[in-house]
C-alpha cells in the first residue's frame, strides 16, 4: 500500500538550532515529492517539488533533498517565524489527475 510517513510528529528547537525533518515514502513509480508549510488555521503553502533521487532545492533557510526512499527538509539556523506544520506529499506513478498522498505532518516550534 502506498504510504507517506513523516517524523518526528513534533519538534521543538531553539532559535538558531539547525535540524532536519524526515519524510519516508513507499509509492510506486514516484512522479513528484512535494513539501508544504501550513500555519494554524490556514491552507498549506507550497514550498518545493522534487522529481528524482539526488535532487536538492533551497529557499531561504530551507533545503529539501530526495533519495529513493525518503526526503529531508533541512532547516538551517531557524527563526521563530519558521514555526509551522510541514507537510510532505507524494505523487504515485499510477495516479490519475494529480491524486497525491499526504503525510500527517511535523509540527515545528522555534523558541526565541
Amino acid at each position: 500500500e502506498d504510504q507517506v510517513t513523516q517524523s518526528p510528529e513534533a519538534l521543538r528547537l531553539q532559535e538558531g538550532e539547525s535540524s532536519s525533518l524526515n519524510c519516508s515514502y513507499t509509492v510506486s513509480g514516484l512522479r513528484g515529492l512535494f513539501w508544504y508549510r501550513q500555519d494554524p488555521g490556514k491552507g498549506p503553502e507550497f514550498l518545493f517539488t522534487l522529481y528524482s533521487a539526488g535532487e536538492e532545492k533551497e529557499k531561504e533557510r530551507l533545503k529539501a533533498t530526495l533519495t529513493k526512499k525518503e526526503s529531508f527538509l533541512h532547516i538551517t539556523a531557524p527563526k521563530p517565524e519558521d514555526s509551522a506544520t510541514y507537510l510532505c506529499a507524494a505523487h504515485p506513478g499510477y495516479s490519475s489527475a494529480s491524486k497525491i498522498i499526504f503525510g500527517s505532518g511535523t509540527r515545528l516550534s522555534i523558541r526565541p
Binding site: R31, G32, F34, Y36, G41, K42, G43, P44, E45, F46, T49, L87, A89, H91, S96, A97, S98, K99, I100, F102, G103, S104, G105
Partner: protein, 116 residues
C-alpha cells in the same frame, strides 16, 4: 499572484441541512480538489476534478457530492450534514503541463465547518 478562494472561512450548520462550499481559482488550472483535514488524520481527499463536468471520487466521498460547471469553480455539497462532517475543508487546484506531468497544488484558506 496565484489565488484560490473559498466562500466562507467559518460556517455553522445544523444536522440534516444541505451545505454548499464553493471554491474559485483564477489560475486557469485544469485540476481542482476538495480535502478535509482532521487532527491526527491529516489531509484526506474527498473528490477531485480534472476538467469541467468531470469528477472522480477520492478516498472518502461518502456523504459528499461535487459540481464543476465552470473551469474556475468547484463546489462541494453535503447533502444532509452530520456531526461527523465537522472539519476543516480545503480546496486546491493544480495545472497539468505535458503528458502526465502534474504540478504542485495551490490551496485555499480553508473553511472550518461545524455541524451541530
Amino acid at each position: 499572484d496565484v489565488k484560490v478562494t473559498q466562500s466562507s472561512r467559518y460556517l455553522v450548520k445544523r444536522t440534516g441541512e444541505k451545505v454548499f462550499l464553493e471554491c474559485v481559482q483564477d489560475m486557469d488550472h485544469e485540476n481542482m480538489f476538495w480535502y478535509r483535514q482532521d487532527p491526527g488524520l491529516g489531509l484526506r481527499l474527498i473528490y477531485f476534478s480534472y476538467d469541467v463536468k468531470m469528477k472522480e471520487k477520492g478516498d472518502i466521498p461518502e456523504g459528499y457530492s461535487v459540481s464543476r460547471e465552470k473551469k474556475e469553480r468547484f463546489s462541494l455539497i453535503l447533502e444532509s450534514a452530520s456531526t461527523n462532517q465537522t472539519s476543516m475543508y480545503l480546496c486546491a487546484s493544480s495545472s497539468t503541463s505535458g503528458i502526465d506531468h502534474y504540478n504542485e497544488q495551490f490551496f485555499g484558506p480553508g473553511t472550518r465547518l461545524t455541524v451541530l
